[in-house]
Symmetry: C2
Subunit: 153 residues, 2 copies
Amino acid sequence: MRLSTKGRYAVTAMMDLAIHEPKGPVTLAEISRCQSISLSYLEQLFSKLRRENLVRGVRGPGGGYRLAKPADEISIAQIIAAVDEKVDSTCGGDAGCDEGNTCLTHELWCGLSKRIYEFLDGISLKDFLSRPAVQDVIQRQNSASNRPAFPLN
Amino acid sequence: MRLSTKGRYAVTAMMDLAIHEPKGPVTLAEISRCQSISLSYLEQLFSKLRRENLVRGVRGPGGGYRLAKPADEISIAQIIAAVDEKVDSTCGGDAGCDEGNTCLTHELWCGLSKRIYEFLDGISLKDFLSRPAVQDVIQRQNSASNRPAFPLN
DNA sequence: TATAAACCAAGTAAATTAGTCAAGTATTAT
DNA sequence: ATAATACTTGACTAATTTACTTGGTTTATA
């Protein structure tokens, strides 16, 4: 488990999708504009998210991306794991330490790493949707058309 | 909060210190050899750990590093925060999104980030010391002299 | 058919991580 | 005192990862 800006981008983008879910697909161009991330970088991230079956692309005009499953089946851990290259990390085994203490600390780290994963796996996108502030946004979007007639490009 | 190999190095090195605490100071050279991390890189990391008052250097022959406080007062979060440069990360505020949804997702991320920190702050080095496998090592080191008469350099 | 979107791939720039080198300073054993 | 040990600091380099760029191709809608 690894935690960097890359993972943050992916998670916030997924939150965006989750929030807009009732409204329909969200385009990467919108996310790019809103979150100030380059479009092509988003494309790369979403290509990985798609490969892990977390999002589904809808092609053509009016298309975009939406969640591939219900928000309560998508955990933060899944999102981060999807975009991070798995650097299998520890316990190469070739260290050759005096007393085997080496692999003891490695083992301890693995244990910690596992706990972090489990922690993040216990938090789903739906947990965010339940926040009052988010609910407000969803309400607003359902009640009125928010697409401006002349979108700024 | 950020989680990378850098933080892992710091945490495993600190585990090492905690395990050897009863025996006395641990030299960076030993950690370098055992964990296959370059000595100078360790020096950089430990310089940061010392600045945050997590370790204490003992100079002169027979010297090394030891924990600056009891193992139950040092959390994983503290260690990782010490070696990571704080990239204050989110909510630059200059994005200028249509409906303020931007800062909503940022806010959600900040909430998550805080929860991760709290989680890691709830895990102390002492938690590792309580593991049976670690206790064995400490026992072995207390009972017999482990320093070889002719250390390999 | 024109357009708006996802999709794809190769390459580049910037940032971070990791390691190296070198010249110190402090401490202790002898 | 002196030498050995070990920490301290800074500047520099290489490798890796992150982020972005460019230039396309498909696909679906209108």
